[in-house]
Symmetry: C2
Subunit: 159 residues, 2 copies
Amino acid sequence: MTGQNVDRDRFWMAQALALARRAFDEGEVPVGAVIVREDVCIAEAYNLREHSRSPIAHAEMLAIQEASKTIGNWRFTDTTLYVTLEPCAMCAGAIVLARIPKVVYAANDPKAGAAGTLYNILQDERLNHRVEIVSGVFADESSALLKSFFQQRRRPPDK
Amino acid sequence: MTGQNVDRDRFWMAQALALARRAFDEGEVPVGAVIVREDVCIAEAYNLREHSRSPIAHAEMLAIQEASKTIGNWRFTDTTLYVTLEPCAMCAGAIVLARIPKVVYAANDPKAGAAGTLYNILQDERLNHRVEIVSGVFADESSALLKSFFQQRRRPPDK
């Protein structure tokens, strides 16, 4: 990975982290996501499960929904998705279906991660699309935010 | 499984198949889904990936989105989801997140099935919810419809 890519990944992950902080402030599990195409943000979202009362309102899904309106196609060519927590099975499946070429995530999710932890749906040779993965960008910051949220709530993490 | 349950499953799968046929007529990969609570249909949907230009517009996801409005909670207690094709990783992940207790599906999906074929996300002990699975209800009818669709399109199946 070149220095320019590292800078770019940190730049966009900082935006995703800012969105995660907005989720935190609204009482939602703090996860944020942005989708970038040719250095332009085409979608941004944060987890809204409680407010929307929808089990599928994860940051990645809302960002994919928004981006599909901009792209006008279900194939997300030349895009990168940045997310502050390792995608779950639902979100990883959606990323493969959208043919997103690259995912950058911050913290691993030991309970539900599907980009290498419990599964690696993003790089399964049996599926019809493989995703480049970069992990660990601002992992400590994302983990600290999640930890702080669950300490405040005094309930087990259940994204 | 009791005879009454078999009859119930066939009744609701027939509704899901009717929705799959509507998808077929609209040029969409023919998959239909219904969500039932206490013998009442609370959501019905069919695959709309092409028309909605969204990679996540699978029948199950659209049904879950609709049901969440009726239920008003992200926990889908006492529901059964009927779908004409084995759920993919995205949809299986969503079913677990929604805590749906039971899934009945018709045909297996050898390319992307995540309810026993490539993965069994619905019954993974590491996740925080396990789903009862019934499969094979009107499997031949669903397979024939899918086969007919792809023969007409002359392209490889790519839900």
